[in-house]
Symmetry: C2
Subunit: 269 residues, 2 copies
Amino acid sequence: MIAFGGAGCACSSSAGRQRRHSFSVKLATLFSPLLVTFPGLTRMASDMIVYWGSGSPPCWRILLCLEEKALQGYQQKLLSMEKQEHKSAAVIEINPRGQLPAFRHGEHVINESLGAVLYLENQFKAQGTKLMPEAAAEQAVVLQRMFEVPTLHQKSVSVIMYTWIVPEAERHESAVTRNKQALGEELKLWEGYLAKLGSGSYIAGKNFTLADVVFFPNLAFCFRFGLSYDKYPHLSAYYSLVKERPSVQASWPPHWKESDGAQEVLKDI
Amino acid sequence: MIAFGGAGCACSSSAGRQRRHSFSVKLATLFSPLLVTFPGLTRMASDMIVYWGSGSPPCWRILLCLEEKALQGYQQKLLSMEKQEHKSAAVIEINPRGQLPAFRHGEHVINESLGAVLYLENQFKAQGTKLMPEAAAEQAVVLQRMFEVPTLHQKSVSVIMYTWIVPEAERHESAVTRNKQALGEELKLWEGYLAKLGSGSYIAGKNFTLADVVFFPNLAFCFRFGLSYDKYPHLSAYYSLVKERPSVQASWPPHWKESDGAQEVLKDI
């Protein structure tokens, strides 16, 4: 029943990441020791480390953001939550709650995924994809959508992980029914946002932003657990559009590649 | 048992706010129609409106931020959650979830309090208190603490509002005990952060930042509901320090002024 399963081994960078890594080393040699970054050029991020669990939306947000910001060569360690590796000393040293993600840039720790992606965008504005518009109108939409995602997260987790979160003696069918209804209402809001924006849109407008970095992993999580593509056509089209981004492909949960999931917990939502 | 009680009437600006408002009008006349802002000068914010509930930490964050950013003359409407005024058409037009806060700046809607305070800081950087440091080390701490607060919020609400959230037939003493224990562990983390920073510190270091804007209302909420000042001496000292800020005084929950609360739900945490 664990949602965030997967391999317990530490995995190295993907082949794609290694190719870009090598290119970055040559650029870094040319410009070193300058720390100035230029749009289109990449900065080495070997002083960053992320501990993560496969399929965890908050973990995925950080990986996705690192990829979009072209922060090549970051260190990453895939841990198994089933094996309780998130309670290991290495994680607790960074994240005293013993939770994933745990993220460090040099001496700076930002484990909270929403904080980490804002930090990466703020500190590496000119590099990779620009993820936060400056104009008030666009920025307001990005921030509003970005911070609505924790509500979707909480509502989806309360259904998908119900038996994991709630001890057996405290479970009630009435709670399951109520949680499912709340998730359905929540998903209809997001379906409506996309319907209003029109075909080919991202979640906060015509550009891919931090709102997508935060939202997409949660939406993918819902589809993985059986959400109907037919009942949510705009969410489904958006999912197909964003799924093909190189950043998403590079950070796709490894254990999702090995199996289709065949989870049906959300099929009647 | 409602945590966010209070008067149902719309309230006008405080006397202090009105005095500064009048001063701002004179400055606005001098500089109009320039929209450039200068540190120490204030910008009129009559195109902003916030719908809020007395004592709700997310609502309080926005009011506190507006005060710190010296955004004078903002419109605000105090609503009664007991009277279900947050489900009114005026609120639902801005916030389709029918929740408070509901916040609009001109045509831009940002109801999520964490998004709203980031928006206000980003859009009015040079005005009022600088709430987000730019240097990586300081910014990382502010973002980390800021985004840990939702965990404290969730854990405190799960104790304080248990009977409000959980239907009678689904309540369990075992859940109450577990929620209380989790809140105690959470509060010990925050006590530890302040202990490490030393006397007179704010929650993310020596300056008042967005981390305080987000954290303080939640801490005040815990003390209001009976958290022991003696058991948490660093949190208590921090509370006394921040409580005296003019921004906090100007945005203090009105119904908290009328009664001491005498709530004891957190006394044994």
